[in-house]
Symmetry: C2
Subunit: 222 residues, 2 copies
């Protein structure tokens, strides 16, 4: 299977880094073809702007979606976007590894979406959700949180984790057609002992071993 791993964390030695490397190694050893984007290591620029394009549709008024449609027709995406688009189009399974920052994606990952998920190539002309460009592909969020599990329950301090992840799962991934596997969440790794983190890492490995046969969640089930 073609698997695309994306990670957004500033510290390679972090638990996010460990989960990412574990996934990369395990999935390669299982015979899959794995491509990666380590957004911090790549120094990926998350700011969407005219530098997204080598082409110009309207030099007087910058409307990202209009430029994206034009660049789709003209092959006018900047190299850093084209490379990521190719991985997105190539993969059958995509895994995002990130810490939940402020109930959302770290900015570098949000900006990767803002810039790479372009109109024309990844959606548009009515192609979205169940008619999405990437239907048939699957996606998995592998997330760490600051707080403990009970804080992310429906009556917990922050409320249901599914509601927190909904804009990402529904508004980004399902929007472009991905089917979602249940998110893999490690709660509060900073508060775990070394042994507990090893156990959490092992649980992730066990899940990944059979990830190709996992069934996606029902659409909109959050």
């Amino acid at each position: 299977m073609n698997i695309f791993l994306v990670i957004a964390h500033p510290e390679p030695q972090s638990f996010n880094g460990a989960l990412f490397r574990e996934a990369e190694q395990l999935l390669r050893e299982a015979g899959h073809t794995v491509r990666t984007s380590d957004l911090y290591a790549m120094q990926f620029n998350p700011i969407s702007g005219r530098h997204n394009f080598s082409t110009v549709k309207d030099p007087l008024y910058f409307k990202p979606q209009a430029e994206e449609i034009f660049a789709t027709e003209a092959g006018g995406f900047a190299p850093d976007i084209e490379r990521e688009l190719k991985k997105l189009e190539w993969c059958e399974l995509m895994i995002w590894q990130f810490p939940l920052w402020w109930f959302g994606l770290p900015a570098v990952l949000k900006g990767w979406v803002d810039r790479v998920f372009v109109m024309g190539r990844t959606y548009g002309y009515g192609r979205m959700y169940d008619q999405g460009v990437f239907r048939g592909k699957r996606a998995l969020l592998s997330v760490t949180t600051g707080g403990p599990r009970r804080a992310y329950e429906e009556d917990g301090l922050h409320g249901d984790i599914q509601a927190i992840l909904r804009p990402v799962q529904r508004g980004i991934l399902e929007f472009v057609g991905f089917s979602l596997l249940a998110p893999h969440i490690v709660y509060g790794p900073a508060h775990l002992t070394h042994e507990e983190r090893k156990t959490a890492l092992f649980s992730y490995s066990r899940r990944l071993e059979s990830i190709v046969s996992e069934s996606p969640c029902p659409v909109g089930s959050y």
Copy 2:
């Protein structure tokens, strides 16, 4: 009143730009003190990393929150963060003007939160939500969408706009203690006529004229 306006849009001539400038002018003319952050114009760097700090707590392992607490004690924030922190601490009302991109904040605004809302100075030691550092201050999201209003209703294509905004309103603004005014949403300005956009701009002005006497929404009412 001390009012802080933040805008995240790459095109100054956009409808977001018009709403932002209208707010700035109207609120100044009404006698308020207004400070602004135009994140694109400032070329604000949204990537959180060691460059956030002039101090170093742990040179071997970068943990943002630990560095933030240390920098709070040592006065060790980089100038671009310190300037934004001062505006955040100074304001009584904060307005964010942004287009909804992928059910969320444009990356430059998300990264502004990731970097500026630092542990120690804006939360921590149990200070969050109703015990938040900024309780007593108010915040308003002024948002434009791509789709029409009906797409953001509970049974609409994208689902309830309140669920989409919840991670921002609850997970960022209420988390640090802000009370929320009802979000000001202009649906699909790109699909409106010039006259309709003028009407929408005028509605926003009318609202801003009495914004200081508006009551916040009940906590968690979304």
